[in-house]
């Protein structure tokens, strides 16, 4: 790799961290929107339970099914919340910790040819780019999932509440999986950042 490649790696890492920073705000907004939409859905379902006379006369177990789905959805929202909080906290930590490191490495590379050479040779820097880009992508993907889930909640009728509960359960599984991934990737990112910092300190 040349010096140009080293600068390009640093630039790509900066872009990836900018993405993570942008994702944090969008993910938070989408999550709040999802919570609002799901709570409104639960409100409509409760209204249906109070006011429906037609379907409960034909399908005697429908009110029970709807009530059960309300409880399931309520429980899934409670299950989702800590996972989302952890992902947001992890992404914020990544942004907070990498900014000074990035500044330090850029400055060191600017001043010392040996550092430029060492950074270009180190796979740690490129690894950083990969993990940061993946963290940002994961946050962006979840943002899209939350928005779609909010839109789906808005369109759900009381009769399809059990189906919506199934969709929300899949989303909760995805969030659980994302919690694990963000933790793993962040741990790797921190390890590689330490390595890159050690390289940047070479003179």
């Amino acid at each position: 790799m040349s010096d140009g490649t080293s600068e390009s790696s640093t630039g790509a890492f900066r872009e990836a961290i900018d993405l993570v920073r942008e994702t944090v705000g969008r993910l938070d907004d989408a999550w709040r929107q999802l919570v609002t939409s799901v709570q409104e859905l639960i409100g409509r379902a409760r209204l249906f339970l109070r006011e429906d006379a037609v379907w409960s006369a034909v399908l005697r177990d429908l009110p029970g099914e709807v009530a059960e789905a309300i409880a399931t959805i309520d429980g899934l929202l409670s299950r989702l919340r800590p996972g989302v909080d952890r992902i947001l906290e992890t992404l914020r930590t990544v942004v907070g910790r990498t900014a000074p490191m990035l500044a330090h490495a850029s400055l060191a590379a600017e001043r010392h040819a040996a550092v430029r050479w060492a950074l270009a040779k180190s796979s740690a820097w490129a690894g950083n780019v990969a993990y940061a880009a993946n963290l940002g992508h994961l946050g962006a993907d979840l943002t899209g999932q939350f928005v779609e889930a909010a839109i789906e909640a808005d369109r759900t009728t009381p009769g399809s509440l059990p189906t919506y509960a199934g969709s929300l359960r899949r989303l909760a599984d995805r969030v659980d999986q994302s919690v694990r991934r963000t933790a793993d990737w962040t741990a790797e990112l921190q390890r590689l950042l330490s390595e890159a910092a050690r390289v940047a300190d070479l003179r």
Partner: protein, 217 residues
């Protein structure tokens, strides 16, 4: 669909005479005997003079009025009647899995969309940085698309039929209410009124398609 300041009054019909009750009973019996009947699902309003048709997942197909709608619903109640019919049809579509389960048939299984491998080429590869930048660009596209859909979801708007006889109040893809207007329909406006209702609902269905189905899968 919910009532709001724009929602016209609903017809006052006792439960025994509610067209939805007899229709619901027939539907439960039909679904129990044959699933083929569920590909196109129609639903009435409480007076039985408005009807709507949806597909098996509740997407709008058609809407209409039967003779007698004017005395039963009138210009004040026709929009609410049409929406109630659509709500009935969608409720029936939504309840098919429940009815099928009651009858001991297994629900359709869905694939689990959990796999999301985010692999990039190895850091030493020549195309690594391009791939990483591609991943970043794709993430921005996802964020922008989500942001646009979120703004649409939060915006309330009105879809008015080209003949000026029917309009929908919509937030995101959800119908908040409907009304006959801005022109007041008369008893002889049946075809034009129905055409307007069909056009507005078709427009809404067209705008709402696509990405939502992705999430459902």
């Amino acid at each position: 669909m919910s009532s709001s300041a724009h929602a016209p009054r609903k017809a006052d019909v006792p439960l025994d005479s509610d067209a939805r009750l007899a229709d619901a009973r027939r539907f439960v019996s039909d679904v129990g005997s044959s699933l083929d009947h569920t590909q196109r699902i129609s639903g009435p309003d409480r007076t039985g003079t408005a009807y709507a048709v949806v597909d098996s997942v509740g997407r709008f197909v058609d809407i209409g009025l039967r003779p007698g709608w004017w005395p039963a619903l009138g210009p004040e109640g026709v929009a609410a009647g049409l929406l109630e019919a659509l709500e009935s049809a969608r409720m029936k579509a939504a309840l098919v899995p429940l009815i099928v389960r009651r009858n001991g048939r297994p629900p359709r299984s869905r694939s689990e969309p959990l796999d999301e491998t985010l692999g990039l080429p190895p850091p030493g590869a020549a195309d690594f940085l391009d791939a990483a930048r591609g991943r970043i660009a794709e993430a921005y596209r996802l964020i922008d698309d989500a942001g646009q859909r979120m703004r649409e979801q939060q915006t309330t708007r009105v879809i008015t039929g080209p003949r000026g006889l029917f309009r929908l109040y919509v937030r995101g893809g959800r119908i908040e209410s409907a009304e006959a207007g801005p022109q007041r329909p008369t008893a002889t406006d049946t075809d034009r009124l129905v055409a307007d209702a069909r056009d507005t609902l078709t427009q809404l269905a067209r705008e709402s398609g696509g990405a939502l189905e992705e999430w459902r899968r």
